[in-house]
Amino acid sequence: MFYRESGDFKKTYQEDGQTFPIRFDRWRYWVILAIAFLVFPFFMNDYFANAVMIPFLVWAIAALGLNILTGYCGQLSLGTGGFMAVGAYATYKIMTAFPGMDMFSVIILSGFVTAGVGVLFGLPSLRIKGFYLAVATLAAQFFLIWLFNKVPWFYNNSASGQINAPERDIFGIVITGPHATPLATYLFCLIVAVALAWVARNLTRGRLGRSWMAIRDMDIAAEIIGVNPLKAKLSAFAVSSFFVGVAGSLLFSVYLGAAEVTDTFGINVSFMVLFMIIIGGLGSIFGSFVGAAFMVLMPVLLKNILVGGLGWPTDLAAHLEYIIVGGLIIIFLIVEPHGLAQMARVLKEKLRLWPFPH
C-alpha cells in the first residue's frame, strides 16, 4: 500500500545488493534511526531509559549474537548466560585493572575475551551436532557460572561475591556508576547496538555469512563447495560470543551496575535470549531487535497492567508472565516458526502487492 517501486531500478551491483533495496524501506530505516538518535534523547528519563530502552538495546545485542550462531549457522546454544557472564566479568576485571581505559575499549576487549572463550566451547561442535551440541553448550553455562562463583579472583575477593561497576567515562561523559545520566547511558548503548547490528549485517551478507548458512542448511554440500566446517563453526562461535560478551558487559556495567553471577547470568538468561530469537525470527537481524523488544516490553507491560492496573500481587503476575511467555512461544512456533521477522516479511510482501492478493 505504501510501496511505490516504479522507477526504483538498479544500475550497479552495489545498489542491487544494498541492505534496503526498496526506496520506502530505506526511508523508513533512516526515520527510525533519526527518531532513536534525535527524538528519543529529548524524552529520556530514568524510567524510560532503565526500564525500556537500555534493556532493550542490551538484550538486542545478545540476541544478535545468539542469532548469528543459531539462526545463521544452525548451532543451537544454551550457554548464552554463561558467555554473557564472561563478558561481564572480563569487563569488571579490565575496569578495575586499568582504571584509565575508556568504556568503548573496555567493552570491545570484553567482547574479544568472550570470543576466545566461545571458540573454546565451540570446539566440540565439529564432532557434536544438533541436540547433543545444545546440551554440550549447557556445560559451558554451568561450568562458567560455577567458575565465577568459586574463584574469588574474578570478583576481586569482594565479601559479597558481587561485582560492582566503578565510574568510567568516555570523552569525559560518565557512562557507568551512579552518576551516569540516563541520556548518556542510552546513547552509549544505542551507538554500540547500531554499530554491532551494522557489523552483523555485513558479516551475514557476505562470504562468511553464506558459509554459515551453508553449514546450517546442508553441511555436506557446504564442505563440497570448499567451506571448512571447523572454520565456519568456530568463526560463528567467535563472532556470536563477541556480541554476547559485549551484551554481558553492557548489562553489568551500564545497565545494572552490579551483578551476582547466578542471579544475573543463570540458565534462564540463556533461555530468554533463545526465546528472543525464536519470537523475533531465526536468521534475521531485524528479528533479533523485535524479539528483544518483545521480551523486554511484554513483562513491563504485564506488570503495568496486572500489578499497577488490577492490583494483583507481584508473584501472581510473575507466574502469569511465565504462562504467557511459554504460551506465546508455542503459538509462535505453530503459527509462524520463523518469527516476527517472517511476519514482517509477509506483511511487507502483502503491502508491496497491494491491492492484489498475490
Binding site: 516504479s6 522507477g7 551491483y13 497491494w354 491491492p355
Partner: protein, 657 residues
C-alpha cells in the same frame, strides 16, 4: 481536413538522419543514459557518448567488412541494445536496416531475406543464426552473419559467422587510424534517403516491405514528441518487436527528444522489468492493456472480501471522477477527497504494481480498444490516448489531443497530416510520413498511393461532428448483411473481447442473414474461475465445453447485444448464435497473424462446417483440426462442439432472425 502546421521538422537544424541526431545528442546529453538493458541482474546502462561509441565502432567495422551504401542489413533478434545500434550503424554506412520478427519460422524469414536481398544478417543468438543458416542456400545474397550472443557459437564457420564484438574491434582499429571517418560518413546521407524497410505482417498474402525515408520517420516522430512535450527526462520500455513500426517510432522519438530506451531482460520478465523502470511514456496495443486489465480483475477476484469491496468502491469513485480529474475539470470537494483516498489505497499501488506508476503519457493503437478498458486506465489517472496509424504513414495519422479523448474515436489529424474519406467510405491521408514505396512492388505501391500522395488506409471510417475520426473496421472486412445493412465484425469482436473470460472472438455476417460468433475463452481467467469453483478440467477443450462456461459466455454475448442496441449503425448486428472453439486460435496454425490479428480467410476455410452449422441451426457439430506445436510436431484435435442461441433485442430496424 486542413493540415496543421509543421513548425520544426527536425530536432535541430540539419539533423535529418538518425546518425546525425546521435552525434547531436552526444553533444547535448553526453552523460545521460541513452539506453539500458536489464542483463546480469542489473540495468546495464550506456550514455549517449557510450552509445555513439558503440555504434561508431560497429559501423566502421561493418564498412570494413564490405558493407556499402544501399546494401540491406537484416536484423533479427529481441529488444537488445545491439539490435538498435545496428539500425543506426547501418544507416551511418548508408545501408538500409531491415528488422524482422524474431519468432518467425525459417520459411517466413527466408522470404524476407530473399526479397530484401540482404547481404549482412545481424542475429541475436545461436537460435537465430541457425535459422538463417537453414535457409542460407536459398538466399545467395547473404555474405555474413554477425551474432550478438557468443554462447554455443564456437564450432561455427568463422569466415561466415562473426562475433559482433569482433566487428566492433575491427572498427576500433579503423577509428584509431581515421578518427573522423564516422562523422564524415554520417554527413553523406540526407533526409530524403531511405532509412529503413519494415516488413508488415499483413493479414493476407506475403509480407510487404514498407520503405521509409529519414524524413518520414524523423519529421513524424519529432512532431509528436513536440506535441506531447517529451523531453530527455522521459523513459520508455521497448518490449514490442523491433520489426514493428511502433517500436521503431519509439527509437526515433528517443533520439529526437534525447530520452532513454530500456530493454527488458527477457520476454518472461517484461512485467517485472516494467515495474522496475516505471516508464513515463508507454505504447501498447489494445491487447496488452486488455491483458493487464484481465490480469487485474482475476487477481482481484482472489482477494479477500474486504479488499474486493474496497476495490469496487474506489473503482466506482474513479469511474465517476477519475477522468474528469485527468482532464482538469472541476470535481466536487468530497469526490476529490474520496479520489485522493482511493489514489492512496487503490489507484497508486495498482498503477505501481503494473509498472504504470510514473506514466505521463500512454498510447494505444493498432486496433480499436474497448471503451471500458480505455476508461478504466483513464479513470486511474493514466493519460492513455488512442492514435490511428500504420506502417505506411510512419505511424501517426490521427491522434487524440489532450482533453478530447473519446474511447470510440481515434482523434484528430496529427500535425502535418491531411485526412479525407473517399466515396467508398475509406479513410485516406497525406502526410510527411507517407511511405516512399513498397520495396520491389511497384504495383502495390501504385494501388495504395495516388500520384498526388494520398494513401488508401484500407480502413472504413467517418468523421464525427466534433472533427474526430472514427474507424469502423477494415474496409475489406466491412460487409453487408443480406438485408443490406452494414456488418463490421471487428467492432463486435472488440466488444466481446472486453470480457475477461473471452480471449478472442470471430464474427460472421457478410452475405448472411444474421450475425454469428466463434469464441475463444481466456484460459487464465476461466481457469481461475474453474479453480475457485472446483470445476475439474484436463484441457482447454474440456474447459471450453463446460456448460457453466457456456452460460457465462452466453451472458456476455447478451450484454454485447444489448449494448449494440444503442448504436443505430450496428443495432442489427446483434449476435444470434455462438459457439466456443475447442482450441485456441494460434499464430502457429496460421489463424492469427504474428501480431495476433484474426486471419478471417483461413478461419472461414478451416471452420466452414462450424459456420454452416451455426447458420443451419444445428445444436452440435463435429470438427477436426490440426495444431502445430512449437517444436514443429503436428497433432489433431477433434471434438463435438455445442452451438448456442442467444437472446437478441428488438429495434424498429431490426429484422428478426
Amino acid at each position: 481536413m486542413a493540415a496543421n502546421e509543421i513548425t520544426q521538422p527536425y530536432p535541430g537544424p540539419g539533423l535529418d538522419t538518425l546518425p546525425k541526431i546521435l552525434l547531436h545528442n552526444v553533444r547535448m546529453y553526453p552523460n545521460r543514459d541513452a539506453m539500458r538493458e536489464k542483463e546480469f541482474g542489473i540495468w546495464q546502462s550506456w550514455t549517449w557518448t557510450e552509445v555513439a561509441d558503440e555504434i561508431e565502432r560497429f559501423a566502421l567495422g561493418l564498412q570494413a567488412r564490405g558493407l556499402k551504401a544501399g546494401d540491406k542489413v537484416l536484423i533479427i533478434g529481441a529488444n537488445r541494445p545491439r539490435m538498435y545500434w545496428t539500425i543506426v550503424a547501418a544507416q551511418a554506412v548508408g545501408a538500409i536496416p531491415v528488422p524482422t520478427y524474431k519468432d518467425s519460422v525459417a520459411e517466413e524469414m527466408q522470404y524476407v531475406i530473399e526479397h530484401s536481398e540482404a547481404r549482412f544478417v545481424i542475429a541475436e543468438d545461436q537460435e537465430q543464426v541457425d535459422k538463417v543458416l537453414e535457409v542460407k542456400d536459398r538466399c545467395p545474397a547473404v555474405e555474413q552473419i554477425i551474432f550478438d550472443d557468443p554462447r554455443g557459437m564456437k564450432g561455427y564457420d568463422d569466415s561466415f559467422v562473426v562475433d559482433f564484438e569482433a566487428v566492433q574491434a575491427e572498427g576500433a582499429d579503423i577509428r584509431a587510424k581515421q578518427p573522423d571517418l564516422f562523422k564524415q560518413m554520417t554527413e553523406q546521407s540526407k533526409g530524403d534517403d531511405i532509412s529503413i524497410i519494415l516488413y508488415t505482417s499483413g493479414t493476407t498474402g506475403k509480407p510487404k516491405g514498407v520503405v521509409l525515408t529519414f524524413d518520414n520517420v524523423i519529421i513524424t516522430s519529432n512532431q509528436v514528441a513536440l506535441l506531447d512535450k517529451l523531453t530527455e527526462n522521459d523513459e520508455i520500455l521497448c518490449y514490442l518487436p523491433i520489426a514493428w513500426v511502433g517500436d521503431h517510432f519509439f527509437v526515433v522519438q528517443a533520439f529526437c527528444a534525447g530520452f532513454c530506451i530500456n530493454c527488458p531482460e527477457s520476454e518472461e520478465t517484461v512485467a517485472a522489468d516494467m515495474r522496475e523502470i516505471g516508464p513515463t511514456y508507454y505504447f501498447a496495443p489494445p491487447r496488452v492493456f486488455e491483458g493487464l486489465l484481465t490480469n487485474v480483475q482475476i487477481r482481484m477476484e482472489d482477494a479477500a472480501p474486504f479488499k474486493r469491496r474496497m476495490y469496487a468502491y474506489f473503482m466506482d469513485v474513479a469511474k465517476k471522477v477519475g477522468i474528469r480529474k485527468l482532464e482538469n475539470q472541476s470535481v466536487g470537494f468530497m469526490d476529490s477527497v474520496k479520489y485522493a483516498l482511493g489514489n492512496f489505497l487503490v489507484y497508486g499501488p495498482l498503477k505501481d504494481a503494473l509498472g504504470l506508476g510514473r506514466i505521463k503519457l500512454a498510447y494505444t493503437a493498432g486496433e480499436a480498444i474497448g471503451g471500458e478498458i480505455f476508461d478504466f486506465y483513464r479513470s486511474l489517472g493514466i493519460n492513455i490516448k488512442q492514435l490511428y496509424g500504420q506502417t505506411e504513414s510512419s505511424v501517426f495519422i490521427t491522434v487524440q489531443p489532450d482533453g478530447e479523448v473519446y474511447p470510440e474515436t481515434v482523434g484528430k489529424p496529427s500535425p502535418g497530416v491531411e485526412v479525407k474519406i473517399n466515396d467508398d467510405g475509406e479513410v485516406m491521408y497525406r502526410s510527411p510520413g507517407t511511405f516512399h514505396s513498397y520495396y520491389k512492388n511497384d504495383k502495390a505501391t501504385e494501388e495504395t498511393k495516388t500520384p498526388d500522395g494520398w494513401v488508401y488506409t484500407g480502413d472504413a471510417g467517418f468523421f464525427m461532428s466534433n472533427g474526430h475520426l472514427r474507424i469502423i473496421d477494415r474496409a475489406k472486412d466491412v460487409g453487408k448483411f443480406n438485408f443490406g445493412k452494414m456488418f463490421a465484425p471487428k467492432h463486435i469482436e472488440n466488444k466481446l473481447k472486453f470480457f475477461p473470460h473471452i480471449q478472442e472472438a470471430v464474427t460472421f455476417g457478410d452475405g448472411r442473414d444474421a450475425c454469428m460468433a466463434f469464441i475463444n475463452i481466456d484460459l487464465g481467467a476461466v481457469g481461475n474461475w474453474a479453480e475457485r469453483n472446483n470445476v475439474a478440467y484436463a484441457s482447454y477443450q474440456e474447459l471450453a465445453a463446460h456448460p457453466e462456461v457456456y452460460n457465462m459466455v452466453k451472458e456476455s454475448v447478451e450484454q454485447v447485444n444489448e449494448s449494440l442496441l444503442g448504436d443505430e449503425l450496428l443495432s442489427h448486428s446483434q449476435i444470434s448464435r455462438f459457439l466456443i472453439l475447442h482450441k485456441e486460435l494460434d499464430a502457429d496454425d496460421g489463424e492469427l497473424t504474428r501480431t495476433k490479428k484474426v486471419r478471417r480467410k483461413i478461419i472461414n476455410e478451416r471452420y466452414k462446417p462450424l459456420i454452416e452449422a451455426l447458420y443451419n441451426g444445428d445444436d452440435q457439430c463435429f470438427i477436426e483440426t490440426e495444431v502445430a506445436f512449437e517444436d514443429g510436431r503436428v497433432a489433431k484435435i477433434s471434438g463435438d462442439i455445442k452451438l448456442v442461441d442467444v437472446k437478441t433485442f428488438a429495434t424498429d430496424a431490426n429484422v428478426a432472425a
